[in-house]
Amino acid sequence: MTTEQVSAAESDSSAVAEQASDVPVLEVRGLGRQFGSVVALQDVDVALRAGEVTCVVGDNGAGKSVFIKMLCGLIRPSEGEILLDGRVTEFASPRQARSQGIVAVYQDLALAPMMSLWRNFFMGGEPVKGWGIFQRFDVGYAKEAMQRELEKLGVNLGDPDRAAHTLSGGERQGLAIARAMYYGARVLILDEPTSALGVRQSGAVLRLIRRAAQRGTAVVLVTPKPQHAFWVGDRFLVFQRGRLIEDRRSETLTLESLSYLMAGGGEVDELETAIATA
C-alpha cells in the first residue's frame, strides 16, 4: 500500500460515518461451517450495520469464534454466503477481508512483543515510498500517522519507539483498535477485548469501542461479561450449539435478562431441573 492509498483509506472511514445506518455493511445468509462430520455452525442470518455495536455471546463451543473467524476470512464457510454492501463476496484470507475493511482484533491483539509501536501498528500494511528496489518503509509517515490516529481516539501511548511488550493491557487494546480504525475498518471485530483487564482499563476500552462505533464502524464484540456487553452493545446475538438462537436489540433487554441469555438461557433451566431431580 502506498502512502497515498493509505490516506485514501483513511478518508474512506470518515465517509462511512455519513452513510445511513439502515444499509447493512456486512450481511450473512444461511452461513454454516462443518469440520469433517462436526457441525460447528449452521443457518446463521445476520446483518451488521454501520455505527452499531453488535455483541456476540454464548457458551464455549456455541460457535461464536467460528462465526467471527468466517467474517474476517480466517475460516471459509462451507454453506451460505457473505454480502458486503449487498454484494456477495468471498474472503480467501484475512488480508483480503482486511483490504475490504473487515478487521479483526484478537485476544492476543496481533502485536509482536519485541517490535516497536509503529512497526506493530503497520504490521502487514506497511506504508511505502519510492519504487522498484528503492521502495522503502515510510518510517516518518508511519510514526506520524500512528500518533494522529491515536489522538483521534484519545489514546496517549508516549514514545512510538517503545517496544509493544511495555504496554499495559488497556494500552494494547487501544493500539490495536486505533490500528484497525486507521485501515478504514468498516467492520471491527473484537474478540474478548476486556477479558484480561481490570475495571478501570475495561471502562477505557469500552469507551474506545463506543467512539469507534460513533465514527461509523460496525463493531462486532465477543465478550463473556454481561455488564460490559450491556453497557456498550446495541444488539445481541446469542449462539447455542452452533445456532443463532436470539437476535435482540438492547431496548428489549435488561441487564438481568441479558445475563440469563448469556449464561445459556434455556440451558440454565435444564441445568436447574437436572440438579433438582438428581
Binding site: 479483526a104 509482536a112 512483543p113 517490535m115 504490521m123 506497511e126 522503502r136 511488550h165
Partner: protein, 346 residues
C-alpha cells in the same frame, strides 16, 4: 518452568528496552573488548595490518552466511544445511566448469538456481509440514553431505575438483569475487566489500522495508502476523532461499579463489553461522535481532581465531572460547526475552 527466576515488573527497565531495540550493541562492545584484550596480550601485534587482514579474511565467509542465517533466525527458523551448501555450490561450479566444459558464468548461474532450489525445498517443507526447521534442514544437511562427495566422485572420480582456472570466463569471474588489494601479508580480498555490502543491504531490508517488518513480525508472533495479513509462509520460504544463496556465494567465491573445491567442505560450519547470529544478538526464539549483529559475531570469531595464537595460547582454545561466548550470548538473550515475557504478563 524457567531456570532463571526473575522478578516480574510492570515497566521494562531502560537496558531491557535498549537490548530489545538495539540487540547488536552487546556484540559490538564484546568485539571492541576482545580486540583490546588480544592487543594487550599480544603486545600490540594484534593491531598490525597483516594481522587485521587475517582477522577479516577469516571472518568474511562466516559473516556473509551468518547475516542471512540471522535474518532467518529473526523470522523464527534455523538452517543447518548452510555449511554443506557451501560445498554443494563449489562442487556444482567445479563439475560444470571442469568436467562439462561449461563457461564459468553459466555454471555460476546454474549453481545459483540449484542452490536456491534447495533453499526453496527447505522452506516449503518447513511451512507445509509444520515440522521444526531444525529437523528438516538437518535432513537436507545429511542429504547434501552425502550427495556432494558421491556426485563429485561419480563425475570426476575424486572428491577434489581441480583446475577451475582453466575454465572459460575464469578471469572475469575471479576479478569480481576474488580480486586482491595490497600485497601479502597485508592483502585484502574484494570479498570484504561483498560482505560489507550484503550486510548493509540486509540492514536496509530489515529496518527500512516492509519485508523487514514481515521478518520481525513472523518471528515475533506468527499467528498475530498472519492475522493482520503478513505473508508469513512466503517470508520464511524467501529467507531459506536467502541462506542458500549466501552459502552459494561463499562456495563459488572460494572455488574461484582457490581454483579447486573439496566436495566434503563446509561440514560443521553451520554451527558457526548460528553462533555468530546469536552472539550478534539474534534471539533463537525469533522476533529480535539485526543484520549487523551476525556480521559482528563473525568478526568476533575472526578476532578470536587470530588473536588466540597471537597471545601465545594453544589454538585449540578457539573452540572452547567460541563455546563460552555462545553460552554467554544465549544467556543474555534469554534474560532479555524473559524480562519481556514477565513485563508482558505483569
Amino acid at each position: 518452568m524457567s531456570l532463571l527466576q526473575l522478578p516480574a515488573f510492570g515497566k521494562a527497565r531502560p537496558w531491557v528496552r535498549t537490548a530489545v531495540l538495539r540487540p547488536e550493541l552487546g556484540s559490538l562492545v564484546a568485539a571492541v573488548l576482545l580486540l583490546t584484550f588480544f592487543s594487550i596480550a599480544s603486545s600490540g601485534a594484534m593491531l598490525e595490518i597483516p594481522t587485521l587482514a587475517r582477522v577479516l579474511d577469516t571472518a568474511w565467509p562466516y559473516g556473509i552466511i551468518a547475516v542471512a542465517v540471522g535474518l532467518l533466525m529473526i523470522s523464527g527458523e534455523f538452517d543447518l544445511s548452510t555449511g554443506v551448501m557451501v560445498g554443494t555450490a563449489g562442487a556444482l561450479l567445479g563439475v560444470m566448469a571442469t568436467e562439462w566444459g561449461m563457461n564459468l558464468w553459466l555454471a555460476l548461474l546454474l549453481s545459483l538456481l540449484i542452490c536456491l532450489g534447495l533453499g526453496l525445498w527447505n522452506g516449503l517443507l518447513v511451512v507445509w509440514t509444520g515440522l521444526p526447521s531444525f529437523v528438516i534442514t538437518l535432513g537436507t544437511f545429511f542429504g547434501l553431505r552425502g550427495a556432494n562427495v558421491a556426485l563429485s566422485k561419480y563425475f570426476t572420480g575424486d572428491a577434489l575438483i581441480e583446475n577451475i582456472d582453466e575454465a572459460a570466463g575464469f578471469d572475469s569471474l575471479h576479478a569480481i569475487v576474488a580480486t586482491v588489494f595490497g600485497t601479502a601479508p597485508s592483502d585484502f580480498r574484494v570479498s570484504l566489500l561483498w560482505w560489507g555490502g550484503f550486510t548493509l543491504i540486509a540492514t536496509w531490508i530489515l529496518w527500512r522495508t516492509k519485508i523487514g517488518n514481515w521478518i520481525f513480525a513472523t518471528g515475533g508472533d506468527r499467528e498475530a502476523a498472519r492475522a493482520v495479513g503478513v505473508p508469513v509462509n512466503g517470508t520464511k520460504v524467501g529467507l531459506f532461499m536467502l541462506t542458500a544463496g549466501a552459502a552459494w556465494f561463499v562456495g563459488v567465491s572460494n572455488a574461484v579463489r582457490y581454483t579447486s573445491v573439496q566436495a566434503g567442505q563446509g561440514v560443521g560450519a553451520e554451527f558457526f553461522y548460528i553462533i555468530a547470529a546469536v552472539v550478534g544478538g539474534c534471539a533463537m526464539s525469533g522476533g529480535r535481532g539485526s543484520a549487523i549483529g551476525p556480521a559482528i559475531g563473525a568478526l568476533i570469531w575472526g578476532i578470536a581465531f587470530v588473536g588466540i595464537p597471537h597471545a601465545g595460547w594453544n589454538s585449540d582454545w578457539r573452540w572452547a572460547f567460541y563455546g563460552v561466548l555462545l553460552l554467554l550470548a544465549t544467556l543474555i538473550n534469554h534474560i532479555v526475552g524473559e524480562r519481556v515475557r514477565t513485563a508482558r504478563s505483569g
